[in-house]
């Protein structure tokens, strides 16, 4: 692969543009820390998310071990509270969301035939903010009162300084703010990329379903996150500056926190599940060897789910006494969501119906998803009825419900996506036998862990309870739930080990091992830096399938790059990393606003304003230098092999 720098960017490369010269090295630490390549960023997102998935998993297993037998004293009640708070926060914000973001980053630009996302440096900022936000939240473990113990929804007035004086709560607040920035910049980027950078001929109604779900999820993120941002700002003001937003002393209404939190929180549920539905909609047609049944309906119902997601938040609050009108309205709207969800499930079943099914590992996860997600969905419909909900509120029934949709739904689909796209990312295939053993371990373990929780909930076991008496009769289901959880944990760990093993030792994969249908399978595995040597011209929805089996007029056209200018690529940059560190230190300063450090027993340091100012200055410098540096860019030339491929396809047409 030859490369040279274009005349327009030569100036930017020859003169220093700041503290450092613009980084040009692609490999090693510099290459990693300054990367703007959506594929490297996607892999980094995935590695970070899998690490936090393990952390959150260990937290869950400690919780389960504590509940394994009645009146257990394995951990203290406070540690128990901290563990379930951190488990929820970690799994939602640091595992499932970023794992979805990893697929958005890696797969979506390939599916639309783009060279990169619209704003490559912003994408890097999103990655670093995610990692630093995760670090910030987990730093709380190392301070004297430890992690927050407020639940992942942090209901007021428990979060008031009077009731939670610990610094863990402040870490939680500011950590979530940084993660919000990460999600938001990512979402703006994806919206612009999907709408604006599609290959010629790739109209909106030819977009792969996963790309469509990325678009809808990104809209959900940009419209839902501001609500939690404001709620967290108000909470921060309550804790640091004595305002009364949620403080009852001054007339604040704790119920307002619940509203603001769930205005964000319910769309968040769809932010977690819509990417999963997108992955499933890609995998099922491939392994059914049929086109997706009812493509427009799947897209439309996804959009309807997204829109309705903003109109149902109060169903999390039925038992607070909203009044009859509000309760009825929200119950009705919640039941309405079952319709587009059901439409999707019928579409997936319709796709499989009459198809020539291949039960590979990704397909097993996909089918497992449909079944498990339906079970979670059914209990969800039960909750939409306020009188039923009043019985189930805060019991293990709810725990069973959302673990069925989040593990049986999201995590199954994400594992499905990992197995499905692993050959594309690594050029190697994951072993099928081992994959199937893992799937059955995960599937059986998951059901043993969470099915008994339905029964526990029905018999009245409350959520977030540290322990229970033997006479309650909850011992046996709890014991089995713990056994199942250990099995599930073992299965997930085994999956991750298999990933690492396959990355180094797996069998080599061809470019398209599955007989894929969408554009990412048309390029090399792993894709070259420039994704596609040519500009693909799309003539059909399932373009790669048409290339193999379709009529000649539906075959993809390949426009070779201008031999003089080659392919334009964005330059690397230090500034996203530096800006994210600025944001990190500014947030750390706010965390330490009232915290007293003591060194060597006597030396004390009492305010974080210094740190805040330093952080803001670094952020400002980072942004200004970022802007002055510009996107840059250099030109690459496809190698001989790629050029040969383009020539062949052109002669064929």
């Amino acid at each position: 692969m030859s490369s040279h720098h274009s005349p327009d960017s030569a100036a930017a490369h020859s003169e220093p543009t700041g503290l450092w010269h613009r980084p040009l090295k692609k490999t090693g630490w510099v290459g990693f820390l300054t990367t703007v390549d959506h594929k490297k960023i996607g892999i980094a997102y995935a590695l970070g998310a899998l690490f936090f998935l393990l952390v959150g998993g260990v937290e869950a297993l400690i919780i389960r071990l504590q509940l394994m037998v009645p009146e257990n004293e394995l951990i203290s009640a406070r540690l128990y509270n901290q563990l379930f708070t951190m488990h929820g926060t970690t799994m939602i914000f640091l595992a499932v969301m970023p794992l979805s973001a990893a697929f958005f980053n890696y797969i979506m630009p390939l599916q639309i035939g783009a060279r990169d996302v619209a704003f490559p440096r912003m994408n890097a900022l999103g990655l670093w903010c995610f990692l630093l936000g995760g670090i910030l939240i987990n730093m709380s473990w190392f301070f004297d009162q430890g992690a927050p113990a407020i639940g992942w929804f942090a209901y007021a007035p428990l979060t008031d300084r009077q009731f939670s004086p610990d610094i863990g709560t402040d870490f939680w607040i500011m950590g979530l703010q940084i993660l919000g920035i990460a999600s938001l910049v990512g979402a703006f980027n994806f919206i612009t990329t999907i709408l604006n950078m599609r290959a010629p001929g790739l109209s909106m109604m030819r977009l792969p379903v996963f790309t469509w779900m990325t678009l809808i999820t990104s809209f959900l993120i940009i419209l839902a996150f501001p609500a939690i941002t404001i709620a967290l700002v108000e909470l921060m003001f309550d804790r640091h500056f004595g305002t009364y937003f949620f403080n009852v002393d001054g007339g604040g209404k704790p119920i307002l926190w619940q509203h603001l939190f769930w205005i964000f929180g319910h769309p968040e549920v769809y932010i977690l599940i819509l990417p999963a539905m997108g992955i499933i909609s890609e995998v099922i047609p491939v392994f059914s060897r049929k086109t997706l049944f009812g493509y427009p309906l799947i897209i439309f119902s996804g959009a309807v789910i997204g829109f309705l997601g903003f109109a149902v938040w109060s169903h999390h609050m039925f038992t607070t006494g909203l009044g009859i009108v509000a309760t009825t309205a929200f119950a009705f709207l919640t039941m309405l969501i079952a319709i587009p969800t059901g439409v999707k499930i019928f579409n997936w079943i319709g796709t499989m119906w009459g198809g020539r099914l291949r039960f590979t590992t990704p397909m097993l996860y996909a089918v497992g998803f449909i079944w498990m997600f339906m079970m979670g969905g059914f209990t969800g419909i039960m909750h939409s009825s306020p009188p039923v909900d009043a019985q189930q509120q805060d019991t293990y029934f709810v725990v069973a419900h959302f673990h069925y949709v989040l593990i049986g739904g999201s995590i199954f689909a994400l594992l499905c996506g990992i197995h499905y796209w692993f050959p594309k990312v690594s050029g190697r295939i994951m072993d099928e036998t081992w994959g199937k053993i893992n799937f059955y371990t995960v599937f059986v373990g998951f059901n043993i862990a969470f099915f008994p929780m339905h029964i526990l909930g029905m018999t009245g076991m409350p959520r977030r309870t540290h322990t229970y008496k033997e006479e309650m009769g909850w011992a046996e289901p709890n014991f089995w739930a713990t056994i199942g959880a250990l099995m599930l944990g073992f299965g997930i760990l085994s999956c991750i080990i298999q990933m690492i093993y396959s990355y180094y030792k797996g069998a080599k994969s061809p470019n398209d091992p599955w007989g894929g249908r969408t554009l990412e399978w048309a390029t090399a595995s792993p894709p070259k830096e420039y994704n596609f040597a040519y500009t693909p011209v799309i003539h059909a929805r399932d373009q790669v399938w048409e290339d193999r089996h379709g009529t000649p007029e539906k075959r993809m056209d390949k426009i070779a790059p201008d031999p003089e200018h080659g392919i334009h690529m964005p330059d690397q940059s230090w500034w996203p990393l530096i800006t994210s560190f600025g944001i990190f230190f500014a947030c750390l300063g706010i965390v330490f606003f009232r915290y007293e450090f003591t060194f060597f027993g006597s030396l004390s340091y009492t305010n974080g304003i210094g740190l805040l100012v330093v952080g803001l200055v670094v952020t400002l410098v980072g942004i200004v230098k970022w802007a002055l540096e510009g996107p840059g860019g250099y030109h690459l030339y496809p190698d001989a092999e790629d050029m040969e491929e383009i020539r062949q396809s052109q002669s064929k047409n």
Binding site: S6, P7, D8, A118, F119, L184, A187, F188, N189, I191, T192, L195, N196, M197, R198, L202, I222, L223, A224, F225, P226, A227, T229, I230, A231, V233, E234, F237, F241, G242, T243, Y244, F245, G250, G251, G252, K253, L256, L260, I263, H565, H568, V624, A627
Partner: protein, 205 residues
């Protein structure tokens, strides 16, 4: 890119799948997001005004002449901003600089009014963040808007300075336009705040 010197670089930026420039589309998505941001803040304020209508003697605290004046100022800055964008598109740099300078000047007057208003409320009217729930919601809402104005001034100021350097190019007209979109949005948020936070207090029910 630079190779097509015979074309207008601003038109080159429109060669996307939808015909809208990337930066402009991202800015509109950001503004959609900001609607939710201010929507949540304004709701917080209005809810507490509705639940506790008598927590403070708001009419005594407010100074509607000053706020009315700063509203005029902000509207005028928006007018100048629209002219700056127009000048930027015509590549009339002197005109763009004057209009941008005027926008920033009016923005600074608005901020000055707000700073004066805040110190007047705190020191003369004893309204602080923690004096009552009204203080909490009022200062956080208008303060957040003020921060947006300050960021806008910084952003526009950067372009004003940048336009004096030889790095300023024809295609930067788009960047000025995108900064302008942000500025106008801050203005429309103020239009809402002026009505629902200030004016409605004067209606006698």
């Amino acid at each position: 890119m630079s190779s097509h010197t015979d074309n207008d670089p601003l038109e080159e930026l429109k060669k996307t799948s939808t015909g809208v420039e990337n930066k402009k589309l991202a800015m509109w998505a950001f503004l959609a997001s900001d609607c939710m941001f201010f929507g949540t803040l304004i709701s917080t304020h209005l809810i507490y005004r509705k639940v506790y209508p008598d927590v403070e003697d708001v009419i005594d605290i407010f100074d509607i002449e000053l706020t009315g004046f700063s509203t005029f100022i902000l509207l005028m800055s928006s007018f100048l901003m629209a002219l700056s964008v127009s000048a930027a598109h015509k590549n009339n740099l002197p005109s763009m600089r004057w209009c941008l300078g005027g926008t920033i000047f009016f923005g600074l007057i608005f901020l000055g009014c707000q700073v004066y208003e805040f110190q007047h409320f705190v020191f003369d009217k004893d309204l602080t963040l923690s004096s009552s729930i009204f203080g909490s919601t009022f200062f956080v809402l208008t303060g957040t808007h003020g921060v947006h104005v300050a960021l806008g001034i910084f952003w526009l100021g950067s372009w004003l300075i940048y336009s004096f350097t030889d790095r300023y190019k024809r295609e930067n007209a788009l960047d000025v336009e995108v900064a302008g979109l942000y500025w106008h949005f801050v203005d429309v948020v103020w239009i809402i705040i002026f009505t629902v936070v200030y004016l409605v207090e004067y209606i006698e029910f």
